[in-house]
């Protein structure tokens, strides 16, 4: 199945599961509404699709249990967006063309919506997978040595000129902020899908390249879309003193780095017959 077919088949299943279970499984209708507002705001469902496509690559069936795990990952991703947008953090008013959670519902409500989505996401992963190993992978990926550690480096280094040219620091920060959760989505599927040692290594390599590429892509989208829309080469990250791959390397070197990562990532999947995962890299083409 190619990426577009896969996406077309499973995105609606992911969206239906999320919509239905955020209503059915949350007792307080107001809190449910606040949580659903952010989860159902759109989004590519990239992480759940990666989890499912990795299972598909390993020829494992996808049933309601696997959809539950996949959707658990999306809840966790959504929590991270809500908290990143908070006034004390990136202070964003809009996301995907809608008011951010704290602008729509209030700051306490947004903090709590995130605080509720994180354990509920982990709960879905535990319920769907019945394996404590999956919980160990996801909690490590979003904890102090993963996503939250990356976000901490980000706020700690914003407007700090001493890290502006520090490639090691910026690579580490971007990896933690974005790469870790993407890698965990693939790693959970490899464990859950009982991949062989060779398959696990190949998938680990793929997920490293895919996850690292994602942040470079995301930084580029920001610049390129702003450039086209506003007719100037500045973007928000730069304006507020953020450090990232784009501010480190500039446009063309960032693109080169992304191209190289895509090639390496595709290579790492060479031994799999099923090509769905390889085609995930197609989404990066619009910035190249």
């Amino acid at each position: 199945m190619n990426f577009k077919e896969f996406q077309k088949k499973y995105t609606p299943q992911i969206n239906s599961f999320l919509e239905e279970h955020l209503i059915n499984e949350i007792v307080d209708p107001k809190l449910s509404k606040i949580m659903s507002y952010s989860v159902m705001a759109g989004g590519k469902r990239l992480r759940p699709l990666l989890f499912l496509a990795t299972l598909h690559t390993l020829a494992k069936p996808i049933t309601a249990e696997e959809i539950r795990i996949a959707c658990g990952i999306e809840l966790i991703h959504t929590y991270s967006l809500i908290h990143d947008d908070l006034p004390a953090m990136d202070n964003d008013d809009y996301r995907r063309g809608r008011l951010t959670s704290h602008k729509k519902w209030g700051e306490a409500e947004a903090i709590l919506a995130g605080d509720a989505l994180l354990p509920m996401g982990i709960q879905w992963i535990a319920q769907g997978g019945k394996m404590s190993e999956l919980v160990e992978i996801i909690t490590r990926a979003v904890g102090p040595n993963g996503m939250v550690g990356g976000q901490y480096l980000d706020i700690d280094s914003t407007n700090n000129d001493s890290v502006k040219d520090d490639a090691h620091f910026i690579n580490k920060m971007e990896w933690l902020k974005t790469g870790c959760l993407i890698k965990a989505s693939v790693e959970m599927a490899a464990i859950y899908g009982q991949a062989t040692d060779n398959e696990r290594q190949a998938l680990a390599d793929f997920s490293y390249y895919f996850g690292r590429s994602y942040q470079i892509y995301d930084d580029l989208v920001d610049v390129i879309e702003t450039t086209e829309e506003a007719g100037k080469a500045t973007h928000k990250d730069e304006a507020v003193g953020k450090n990232n791959t784009y501010t480190l390397l500039g446009l063309e070197a960032s693109r080169d780095k992304l191209r190289k990562m895509i090639a390496d990532g595709k290579d790492s999947l060479a031994d799999f017959e099923e090509k769905t995962l390889t085609e995930f890299f197609n989404i990066y083409e619009k910035v190249l």
Copy 2:
């Protein structure tokens, strides 16, 4: 072993584990310091002690793995305190005589310290227990239908006079805010310690009474200590328009309710030979 002996034996083990592993297992020393600041601020370690005392009641050995699970619960409890104190929530400057996390380190740092402690706590529970059931119990207890749901009801009802005399609402809110996590600490030990069905039911009853009592006790501590120190019968909850058992029932009826709950809680443990858990109720005596 009586409660005092149990506490004296295990509190130092809990504190050593927390102190050591918050340094060893968190790569970023600054983030580790921010997290440790709140975790090591003192506190009774009530929830980890309850977990361990339940295992002891079931005659299960307590090794490093069980201490890890117990400490995971404390990390999660600490996360909830940090987020409850935030400016957008209860806006508290001091806790246990020290500056709260956001006053000491900044608001973004406090949000992230909490966001890091929650998954790390769940990770420790998964690592120590190797049972996805424990993860299901803890995530349910702190999610939208548990602790965070209670905190949401609290912020949603503050200064809302329509719930002031609504005993059902106040009981539910207080149960979710405090009772759920206490109950989960006992329930995890019952599952992990392979309690029989009868034992599980008795422990579930105990943890219900103990958990519900705790919030009544906590509200009373607040009033009584303020009364003695400041010479007046007001306290912060009342001043900021919070609704709780004390504001609902007043001093003597709250005490009566607490006494009744303690008696029922002790009854539920009647069939266990080991009396450590029964003696946990002694901590409530100072408000009676």
